[in-house]
């Protein structure tokens, strides 16, 4: 009998504790092709949640994130989202990395009147998702314009354009083509993850471009630069944000010298960034800072602010509070004021490689 009472007591304690939390959902790729993003995002989110709770939580209750895996697929995203909306009945859900999965889910969130907020999805199509969809990451649109401006400022009238054949590369290239006031003498997509890009480079080399806009990833970028150098093809390389990594320099060696790229920038100096870095290192001593982790960190803090300001815990009240709370909210990744599409602005910085180091251009 004693044991039963004890168990019952524990149960009530547990449910009491359960009732004291404010839950939001998160759909992330925790397994599958891009799980490396999802796992990093999860860490950054958990770190921010811990800070929010330490600072008093949401109106005195603890914030809790319910994660669902989307297996890095569109169907998995829809499944995970449907579960969070209809079983868990959560009014706020954090959307997955990768624009393609985000796009599969956003019409459902809009239809079910659930706040859906992304931290990495860059595709420009997302702006049209609807009034319940937000993102704290700048749209591709802005970076495409940034690369076009870079090419123009450097005085190039003619460039060749090549880009990685995925949603990021193609999306960016489309914007670049629209915005660049000059001639594009050659243009094609290159496939992801190849070990040999010599035939692509031959095609570029034949046109003898002075500058090549190469919107690609780290591994592909390294291979391309190295093989171009071996072929004695040395134009000025202009690149995007996805290739900005010491790994690129490591792969390409001295051939990476002098490339110029753009990236959505935020100051990696100052107390707040330093605080994020040390807090992350303290919580996950063995893990590196995840890519785009800062955006997730900011997103949770912004959400917490909105939840604290919201008049009620339902999507419409939170939506209004989110719009209001974002005004002038400056996180470590900059100003997060939402426009009418739920998008944020960004400042684009420029990077270059000098003496084997990535530095500001």
């Amino acid at each position: 009998m004693k044991r039963i009472t004890c168990a019952l007591f524990c149960f009530f304690l547990a449910t009491a504790a359960y009732a004291e939390t404010v839950k939001i959902g998160a759909v992330q790729p925790l397994s599958g092709k891009i799980s490396v993003y999802g796992e990093g995002f999860q860490r950054a989110i958990n770190l921010a949640v811990e800070e929010v709770n330490a600072a008093g939580g949401i109106k005195g209750k603890n914030l809790e994130v319910v994660y669902e895996d989307n297996l890095s697929t569109a169907q998995g995203t829809v499944s995970a989202l449907q579960k969070l909306i209809s079983i868990e009945k959560l009014p706020v859900i954090i959307g997955p990395a990768a624009s393609s999965n985000f796009l599969a889910a956003c019409p459902i969130a809009q239809r079910e009147k659930t706040i859906f907020i992304g931290s990495e999805s860059a595709a420009s199509d997302i702006s049209q998702c609807g009034s319940y969809v937000f993102r704290v990451f700048p749209s591709d649109m802005l970076q495409g314009i940034g690369v076009a401006e870079l090419a123009e400022e450097l005085g190039y009238k003619e460039v060749a354009l090549t880009y990685i054949n995925n949603d990021w590369g193609v999306g960016l290239a489309e914007v670049f083509k629209q915005k660049f006031n000059g001639k594009i003498i050659e243009e094609f997509a290159h496939d992801e993850g190849k070990a040999d890009y010599r035939s692509e480079l031959m095609r570029l080399k034949r046109k003898k471009p002075v500058a090549v806009v190469n919107l690609t990833y780290i591994k592909e970028g390294g291979t391309l630069l190295k093989q171009a150098y071996e072929m004695k093809f040395t134009p000025k390389w202009l690149m995007g944000s996805a290739a900005k990594s010491p790994k690129l320099v490591e792969l390409a060696g001295k051939t990476a010298e002098g490339i110029i790229g753009t990236y959505p920038t935020f100051s990696k100096e100052g107390d707040r960034y330093e605080h994020y870095k040390t807090a992350f290192a303290a919580k996950y001593p063995e893990k590196k800072l995840p890519i785009f982790g800062e955006y997730n960190y900011d997103m949770v803090h912004l959400l917490a602010k909105a939840l604290n300001n919201a008049e009620a815990f339902n999507a419409d009240a939170i939506r209004a509070a989110l719009m209001e709370s974002s005004k002038g909210f400056v996180g470590i990744t900059g100003d997060k004021t939402f426009d009418e599409n739920g998008d944020v602005g960004a400042t684009y910085g420029r990077w270059t490689v000098k003496d084997g180091k990535i530095v500001e251009y």
Binding site: L30, S31, G32, S35, G38, E39, Q42, V65, V66, Y67, E68, D69, L71, T73, A74, Q75, V78, S79, A80, Q82, K83, I85, S86, I87, S100, L103, A104, P107, I108, R111, E112, A123, D125, N165, N166, D167, G169, V170, G171, A189
Partner: protein, 292 residues
């Protein structure tokens, strides 16, 4: 509620998809590893025309026609190959389709995928309920078609071809013609499943149609029992509900990342055990030729 409907809808789409594969794999003995290619063709056909403003029923009809025609074109040369070679060719075919969808950007938007595919709407019902009713009706209708086809002389000839092509030829049956027709029919219904999937999910991109989907659908057929009408139904129900059911395991948040790996391992283990212990699947085919 909506989540329950979602699972049911997925089950129905996979039932249709795996049953269409069963026609080829279970009845005609054609190991088509490229069936996902026809699913993709169906999805894109219907998505493209409906996004352009045509009605959904037209899109679904088109997805069947396009998949059937491509099936014919594929089967014509490839069926001169037999056994393993057919399997390899079909695998290559699915990859070709995926690359085509990825690179023909003027038509398919390439890796950007097609967002905003119209959803099935009838009688002002909630989105999932409307989709469920339409998909249920179409799947049932398709299963009826399979039943009629398979209990006809055509179906019996297919089984004969599977068991012994030489005997079939001795009976004066044109084996290649039978196989080509089977692939055309199987592809048409595979295409329909793809079309329904596209209208349900609402966004498609070439990455959705990977080898993984092929493996999953073959598992549905083999687990349930190939060569039977109910096998793929049971197989699909099991595969989808077990896959989604793993979401409800009471695991701590840090462990959720492991669930998908458990799922893949579980499916792999099931497949291996089936092959070893019960190659005929859960529902065994009746009237199997007795081996002596």
């Amino acid at each position: 509620m909506e989540y329950g409907l979602h699972i049911l809808i997925l089950c129905l789409i996979y039932i249709l998809f795996s049953s269409s594969l069963n026609l080829e794999l279970g009845y005609a003995g054609l190991y088509n590893f490229g069936h996902v290619g026809f699913f993709a063709i169906g999805a894109y056909s219907s998505a493209l025309v409906t996004v352009a403003g045509y009605p959904i029923w037209g899109g679904l009809l088109l997805s069947m026609v396009v998949a059937a025609v491509v099936g014919l074109l594929f089967a014509w040369p490839v069926l001169r190959l037999t056994g393993d070679y057919f399997g390899i060719a079909s695998l290559a075919f699915a990859e070709m389709i995926r690359l085509l969808l990825l690179n023909e950007r003027w038509l398919t938007r390439g890796p950007m995928g097609i967002p905003g595919i119209p959803r099935i709407e009838i009688l002002g019902l909630s989105a999932n309920m409307a989709a469920l009713i339409v998909i249920f009706l179409l799947t049932t209708l398709s299963l009826l078609c399979f039943k009629i086809i398979l209990s006809s002389p055509f179906g019996r000839t297919l089984k004969l071809i599977r068991e012994d092509e030489y005997v079939a030829r001795a009976f004066g049956k044109n084996v290649v013609s039978f196989k080509i027709r089977t692939i055309a029919v199987g592809s048409a219904f595979g295409g329909l499943a793809g079309g329904l999937w596209a209208h349900y999910i609402g966004y498609i991109s070439p990455n959705d149609f990977s080898l993984q989907l092929t493996v999953l659908v073959i598992l549905c057929v083999v687990l349930g029992g190939r060569g039977t009408l109910f096998g793929p139904i049971l197989g699909s129900l099991l595969v989808i509900t077990v896959g989604e059911g793993l979401r409800f395991l009471p695991l701590p948040a840090s462990m959720t990342a492991g669930v998908a790996h458990i799922q893949s391992m579980l499916f792999g283990l099931v497949l291996v055990l089936l092959m070893l212990r019960r190659p005929q699947g859960i529902v065994a085919e009746s009237h199997l030729l007795q081996e002596t």
